[in-house]
Amino acid sequence: MKQVKHRNSASKILILGTVFLFTFFTPVFGQDEAAVDAAVVTEASSGGDVAKGEELFKSLCAACHKRYKKMTGPALFGVEDKYEREWIYSWIKNSAAMIASGDSQAIAIYEEYNKTAMNAFPQLSNTDIDNIIAYVMVPKADPPAPVSGAEGNAAVSGSGAGVSTNVILAILALVFLMLMVVLFLVNKTLRSFAEANNVELPIEEKRTPIWKAFVQNQFLVLVTAVFLLLASGYFVYGYFMQVGVDQGYQPVQPIHYSHKIHAGDNQIECKYCHSSARVSKTSGIPSLNVCMNCHKSISEVADATATEEYSKEFYDGEIQKLYKATGWDPDTQSYTGKTEPVKWVRIHNLPDFAYFNHSQHVSVAGVECQTCHGPVEEMEIMYQHAPLTMGWCINCHRETNVKVADNKYYEKIHKELSKKYGVDQLTAAQMGGLECGKCHY
């Protein structure tokens, strides 16, 4: 809500803005309340605790089931209407036994879902199951608001804010103009008064213009010229030194992949996806089958994931892109075999003549990914954090100590070298990390 800051200047506008905000937010709250109301209603009908049911559902069932969508198992909404409650109890507690006993309903469902056996949950009591049923029977809430509507509203609120700023500016300008006119008029009136009263106005002496004085002072000219030359040299050098340095490069990717959601909110370890960083010179852009490890069952984001900037629909659409690329059909829960590899835009580009090995830094030296890649877990859109220049590499090699603990390789060389240099801890540079041939071949 950046606009709020501007509004602080004028209390009136602040109030106005607050009014605007409330107008838009109220319906949302209203919907939530409606959902809660609905829940209460269902609780009354099936006699289970929705909250407890939700907890159980998320811990036990969510890996294979969703309420309103097919996954590995069927969508559970409406399950109560389809099956007897007793049947459901025994199915959940031991489905395999039911299939073995030849229950026709059980066999039908087993066949329908590619003979995937459901885990048995003998630990669940009937009350627990009631709670779960209560939760899954909560009807799907109406979508919060159509996407276009939301965007339209945003646009309206945006343009509204723009108008108000312009209005303030216009009013201010008007005020200043009026002040100037007033001053001019006052001045004029005072002069005419003075003339009328024959008061003699002091005549200003003509002084040498400042630029002329400057030109005449050769010392100053010289100093300025030197200063200007140095300054321009500095800036020209700076300009040339940043050619080819793409720090902050933040291209638009074919799939909006948010490191913030994955590495930040969900705390997924970097090397879970970038696994080759442990053993290879490249960290590797994860292959799409790695994404599908989780996204087979995560086809949409949680409501809480959505932000002002990116709606839930937007994120869900990006997951659909992944499904399209891998050829995953969420309806049949199977791969179609039609794949479309994703063409990511490469962000970190080292020139071909520089050799960099991730495993040396990640596995051997134990450097955190963030040291070079920055706060990736906060990046909604990935960008290049470090300049990736040779000076930057070298500097780190000079400052960083080699991690020698528990590494037999370093035992002998570290003992001898640290004695030679008279230090306790060797830096990468002392170990030979500044030699040209270590990175250029």
Binding site: S276, V342, K343, Y409, C436, Y441
Partner: protein
Amino acid sequence: MSSNKKYWKSVEELNENSSIVETLQQNEFVKEIPTDEFLGDKSSLENSSTTRRDFLKYVGFSTAAASLAACEGPVKKSIPYVVQPERIVPGVANYYATTIADGFDFASVLIKTREGRPIKVENNNLASSNGDANARVHASVLSLYDSSRLQGPKKGNEDVSWDVLDKEVIAKLNSIGGKQIVLLTQTYASPSTSKLISEFKTKYQNVKHVVYDAISNSEALDAYQAMFGERALADYDFSKANTIVSVGADFLGDWQGGGYDSGYAKGRVPKNGKMSKHIQFEANMSLSGANADKRIQATPSQQKQVLAALYKYVTGAGTKGALDSKLDAEVVSAAKQIQKAGSNAVVISGIQDIDAQLVVLEINKAIQSKAFNQNTPRTIRQGDAKAVAQLVKDMNAGRVGALLIAGVNPVYTLPNANEFKSGLEKVDLSVAFTMHNDATGELCNYIAVTPHYLESWGDVELKKGSYSLMQPTIRPLFDTRQFQETLLKWTDNSSSYDEYIKSAWTGILGGTSWNQALHDGVLIKPSLPKQGLVDAIEISEGDTPEVVATSISTGTDVNAAARRLSIAKSNGLELTLYIKTSLGDGQQANNPWLQEMPDPITRTSWDNYLTVSKADAEQLGLTNENVANGALNGSYAKVTAAGKEVVVPVIIQPGQAKGSVGLALGYGKSKGLKQEMNVGVNAYPLYQNLNAVQEVSITAAEGTHEFACVQLHNTLMGRGDIVKETTLEVFNTKDKREWNAVPVVSKNHIEYEVTSPEVDLWDSFDRSIGHHFNLSIDLNACTGCGACVIACHAENNVPVVGKSEIRRSRDMHWLRIDRYYSSQDSFKGDNEKKNNISGLGSSLSEFGEMENPSDNPQVVFQPVMCQHCNHAPCETVCPVAATSHGRQGQNHMAYNRCVGTRYCANNCPYKVRRFNWFLYNNNDEFDYHMNNDLGRMVLNPDVTVRSRGVMEKCSMCIQMTQKTILDAKREGREVKDGEFQTACSAACSSGAMVFGDINDKSSEVAKLKEDDRMYHLLEHVGTKPNVIYHTKVRNTTEA
């Protein structure tokens, strides 16, 4: 003006009436410049709306736009796998064991793949007894990415689908009538393929299988069959022989399939004062002759006589012909050595004559040679010259209904190719199984395109009991299907070839699992020794056994054979067709690495040529000369044999036996390859009756040929600090200072060794901590085979520059193998002569004489790469510090820092630095593998591809040493000896190159560094190199 002299610019001006003079007074040029030709016609120019100013604006704008655009980096895309294969990690190499079996080269190898594409061939250490990878095998990975490969099956010139091809061919095969169906194939030596072909024979009627080797070994096979009842080649283990007598066999080259060099080299390194003795009788200067302790020139007909005499002297049987007395003395001496060595001796021969081969087998049997492996004969040559000749006859007589040609190119390789072509027209159905649209393929009805061996399945029985498996290392690049797969289709077998092999191998595997065999790539079964032989050897060990002439049980009359040999005669010049190390039988003629690889003997690339002795050349009026830029030119000669004639360039070869000439096969291929690779002359038309020896007549022909020769100076000029050499006798008896003295310099009238810190210009760095790499090269073990040269190419992305650039001495090889001839009888003679030169007068004449190698020179090979000097002269002269030294001993080269002053190359005493005069990749001027996407797939992603204007050189494979270190660090362990390798040391199967860390005192290289034979190249310069050499020792002891 004080003078009335008339100055004139041309004679024309003196003619006052000349119209030209008049015109010239008015105009600058006599004729009007035909501007229309390059500016278009006048009217259209005037009508054009683009004015000159507009044009300049466009130029200005586009220049500005281009410069602006250049400031933006290009957007790079990264496309990960959709489903990443389990074993592929981007950036990590995978190795697969497989086998090359192209009918000429057979070897078990390891293939290094990166991101699923093969990039390098390495030796499979589990299979060293099967022969290691030679230069051609190392280069074969590039042939996979050959842009001239066919991309799908063809019917005539049309593309056709496999289904259509199968349907049509099967229909025709079934309706062939009573005519023969002939399978004309290379030697597969494959148990599964043999089984498959026999199934094919039962499925179709009247099927004949003819095996054809382009380079025939038919006589040796026949002789072995006559004596041992089995059609195979005798196998030898030269590491078990201490006396080797070869009569015309280039066993260090490709004699009987090659691969003997590693065993040979083992016996050549003096150990406990002993090394093997190698005597070579030969006509052409071959690799074996160059390595021999004693090389005796003998024309092919003389070789036969030599063999007969040798048989007589060794066994006492047979007759000796009228042998030249000088040769006779040599044979007597050789026979004495053999008798002295007894079962430790071995005699071999390359004479393509069944009599000669019988005699050789008989001698080895008689002396009970331990080197002769009777239990494991080689099966990698099975071609039958007689059957091939019969086939051509049958074809012309119209008796052949269908001809399926697999793995061979008879239209190119057969001497009677024209007869074959006319016969092919009479064949109803012809199918070629080939990778290229080659000479044979384009004449056949169908081309069933086959994949490269790196895309194929297969199995090979290299020797009896030595099996090897072939597995694909990459998914087929094109729409190809291997021969066996097609046969399976045509015999209605629905299984794939790999399943077929697996089932065929159930009998072979024994206790080994299939996966283990496939992983190892090789399965060596313990072979049962033949009755009594081993016992006999056991008894005779340690003492000199008496030589017994055993009678032949098989009924072959060896004495008669020897008699026939002894009366061999020749009228006129005898041509020996030979095989070059680089191109072999010519299958890989489209491989630029091999074309550019200099021949180990002549050091000439991109050509074949007639090698002629100096005496014969003078007689025939053939010359060689060096032109102004140092390149070599030679005259042409017309060679006529049995009505065929070819015109070939001539190289005068020191050591060529007088009365003999040599010419390499495998060149002059014109179909199915790039224009750039169509070099040399096809010598196959001279290969009459598939016999390498032909009587020829030679006359000089018009014109001069331009050679691309990389070493123009032939002799060592007595410079003993480049190649040090001594004899076994001196080596055993004298002190090191006698035969491997460190040069001394005088300081304050005191002599110091140049290695002493007292006379060092520089302060030494402390290199005792961490790794310190050294590369050791043993001149005794190096056979000059050139495998390292190609391995270096593959590992380090060394560019190919082409013939004209090589001619300008701009070759880019990081590793070269120098070859030196002696100008006297021996290098010792050279040294003495040089040392005895005194005064200006004698030095002028005698140095001049020393430039010419003697008629039968001694030869030495010396691999030279960057010596990684600790006091490197190149480092001190670089103005931008692009080359610097690392603590680990490597001399680094930062390409991106280099500005191309070339000071370093000028200051390098070893001349190992290479300058990129041009951009060699993505440049149409250099249309070799780096100019197309396919060829670039072979590039090693760990090594920078250099650009124009940059100096480059051997890096001591720093990418490999760094990887070894990183692996150890990651696993938290120390590096073991033998883990550090360079591309050349890993490729060196003879063990001449050993690489390692000298700070690891227990390592092999550290021990080699302390060896008495160790010296540095040009030690007196004081560069303190990290490459060390070992003095060559020749075994000149006579029995």
